[in-house]
């Protein structure tokens, strides 16, 4: 009999160890499985690195503020200027690296502001219900009645062009998405039995919000934020490209392409390289968001 007890205990210990290992193996598998998530993480780290170190690692620091050096204008890519030079002789690589900081700041700023407005409103709407919910959601729908970029252009047209107003416009375009997401999560969670249980044992509404609703809706919000940073970078560059965002000579990627467009097709490098960086940044944040979803939201993948 003693033998049986011992093997039983041993079996349980083994099972516990396996359960512990399982979580780690799952995480490792999810990241490793998807080469794409790793690529996303790598791209994001690279962009953040460029943004942080920008001024110290650029090959031509004097080109950052925009110096006129017509002797070197529109040189094709070479060892001295990897990505060539622009129409006033500035090194394009230098300006792209400096532009990374601007794009990242604007992208993160827009996303954070939009989430800061949208998430509390959404959770409020989802948990309060009734008239409050109706009012918040209808007001949100108002902003969703015009597709994003057009609304942004209308707002910029009203506020006047410029990177600051472009940001304001994009925040106004973006927050409703967070209301929708947070509201749907809060609504779904409100129906869960464990919230019922918490209410029955007398937890206050604020405590339920703080302890149950927020933590359970946070992962889809983080995933959305990661994706949105990429989309916001793209939107700012788009506004820059059509001439309603950052104004040249600000080293903004979209604005650079807008000028470069006039030098196509002969001076192709001028338009190609800034665009490549926009693409890689957006791709990075999208892939990272995808990978985060796999890890944070276990229900989204079933094998």
């Amino acid at each position: 009999m003693a033998v049986t007890v011992e093997t039983e205990a041993g079996r349980q210990a083994k099972a516990r160890r396996r359960a512990g290992n399982r979580r780690w193996r799952l995480a490792a598998w999810l990241i490793g499985r998807s080469f794409a998530s790793m690529l996303g993480l790598g791209l994001v780290v690279a962009i953040v690195g460029l943004a942080l170190l920008g001024p110290w690692i650029v090959p031509y620091p004097e080109h950052v503020i925009g110096q006129v050096n017509l002797a070197d204008k529109l040189k094709p890519p070479s060892m001295a200027n990897w990505f060539g030079t622009d129409e006033v002789g500035n090194d394009i690589l230098t300006r792209i690296i400096v532009g990374a900081r601007l794009s990242l700041l604007v992208g993160v700023g827009i996303t954070l502001a939009a989430a800061a407005i949208g998430v509390p409103l959404g959770i409020l709407a989802g948990t309060a219900g009734g008239r409050t919910r109706e009012a918040i959601m209808r007001f949100t729908d108002l902003f969703l009645s015009v597709p994003g970029l057009v609304l942004a252009i209308a707002l910029v047209a009203a506020l006047g062009p410029g990177i600051g107003n472009a940001m304001v416009a994009l925040i106004l375009v973006w927050w409703p998405g967070y209301v929708r997401l947070a509201e749907s999560k809060a609504l779904a969670i409100r129906e869960e039995p464990y919230i019922e249980a918490a209410r029955v044992v007398g937890a206050s509404r604020l405590r339920i919000l703080w302890r149950h609703v927020l933590p359970n809706s946070i992962s889809p919000i983080i995933v959305k934020m990661s994706m949105d940073i990429g989309q916001a970078i793209l939107a700012v560059a788009s506004l820059g490209f059509i001439g309603l965002g950052a104004k040249p000579p600000t080293p903004e990627w979209g604005a650079m392409i807008s000028i470069a467009r006039g030098y196509l097709p002969d001076y192709w490098w001028y338009a190609v390289f800034p665009g490549l960086f926009i693409y890689l940044s957006v791709l990075g944040f999208n892939l990272l968001g995808d990978g985060l979803r796999d890890i944070l939201d276990p229900r989204s993948h079933r094998t």
């Binding site: 794409a36 209808r138 729908d141 108002l142 902003f143 009645s145 015009v146 597709p147 994003g148 970029l149 057009v150 609304l151 252009i153 209308a154 707002l155 910029v156 047209a157 009203a158 506020l159 006047g160 062009p161 990429g230 793209l234 560059a237 788009s238 490209f241 059509i242 001439g243 309603l244 979209g254 392409i257 467009r261 196509l264 097709p265 192709w268 338009a271 190609v272 665009g275 490549l276 926009i278 693409y279 957006v282 791709l283 999208n286 892939l287 995808d290």
Partner: protein
């Protein structure tokens, strides 16, 4: 079914009202004085005051709003400052070009996206699946304006296969419009040469515009197909001996198409929105280009006009998707 339709139409009406409110609010947050804008850049103080009275801008806001609504009801969008032409007429001229572009792009997205998504789901985790996954992520991340420029470089400048920009060659005598959609009009008039020319001009911008849409349709369709192929009713249908192709193309795909359809409604909005970029790159004479050039010139009325038209279009598209949903999903029909 009738209540379902009526409810959807009612919701659309509500959205239309919201849209009108939204544009009115935007017009009134402008820091610049609308009267001064309306009077023109060289106007003196008295002229500005006259413009203010003329446009009713000295009236209280609610009266201004009523006037705005009644103007819109008569399809009066005001005048463009830059051209002096009524915005309504401009919209009527530019909108068909944008619509044509979006329709062709949506067709590309559907015709490629749905089968690719299906194929991907059938070969889940195989090489095709990995390839389409990369393709899909790429599509969403690609900046449309940059992608457009790259395609212009490759197909127009270097290879010389397709024209760079515009809707037709400047040397081509334009047709008297019937629908305003060149591809349709040229066919209706039996002008095959013009159809081919129009097709060659629309190919690149439509491809660029369709790309994010194609990518998303592919992704959604793939994951919905994977889900549907695993469903109990598919196991049952297989046990009953339903043919494999019918199993996939009818029994599973019909279920997968519902969420895909919802994406199409949303994506339509994104698409019209992206015409702003694509039309700028390809000099496509549509509402997007019109809005951008007006916004840069500080010409406010056309921008508002385009905003309204785009919003209206988005609303109608969503209404159509809702109705189509009702047709496809019997559960909604009887609800």
């Amino acid at each position: 079914m009738l209540t379902y339709i009526l409810r959807r139409i009612g919701l659309a009406g509500l959205m239309l009202f919201g849209l009108v409110c939204l544009t009115f609010v935007i017009a009134n947050i402008a820091p610049s004085d609308p009267a001064a804008l309306a009077a023109g850049p060289d106007a003196g103080r008295s002229q500005i005051e006259q413009a203010r009275r003329e446009y009713g801008l000295d009236r209280p806001l609610h009266e201004q709003f009523l006037r705005y609504v009644s103007d819109l009801a008569r399809l009066e969008f005001g005048r463009s400052i830059a051209t002096g032409r009524p915005v309504g007429a401009d919209l009527a001229r530019y909108f068909p070009a944008t619509l044509e572009l979006c329709i062709v792009a949506m067709i590309i997205g559907l015709v490629l996206g749905v089968p690719l998504g299906m194929l991907s789901a059938l070969h889940k985790d195989g090489p095709i699946d990995h390839f389409t996954r990369i393709f899909a992520v790429t599509g969403v991340a690609l900046p449309p304006f940059w992608f457009g420029l790259l395609l212009q470089l490759a197909f127009a400048a270097w290879l010389g296969w397709l024209p760079t920009s515009g809707r037709l060659s400047v040397f081509t005598e334009p047709l008297e419009p019937i629908t305003g959609l060149l591809l349709v009009d040229s066919l209706l008039r039996g002008n095959g040469g013009m159809f081919l020319e129009a097709a060659s001009y629309i190919a690149l911008p439509a491809l660029v515009l369709s790309f994010p849409c194609l990518a998303q349709i592919l992704r959604v369709n793939r994951s919905e197909m994977v889900e549907a192929l695993r469903a109990d009713y598919i196991v049952a249908a297989r046990a009953h001996g339903v043919r494999p192709w019918r199993l996939v193309v009818v029994h599973a795909l019909k279920n997968a198409m519902l969420p895909t359809l919802a994406i199409i409604g949303l994506r339509w909005g994104w698409m019209i929105s992206s015409t702003v970029l694509v039309e700028t790159v390809f000099d496509w004479p549509g509402t997007g280009l019109y809005a951008v050039s007006s916004a840069i010139a500080g010409d406010f009325k056309p921008v508002m006009g385009v905003t309204l038209i785009v919003g209206l279009n988005f609303m109608i598209a969503n209404l159509l998707v809702d109705l189509l949903y009702g047709v496809l999903d019997p559960r909604l029909r009887s609800a």
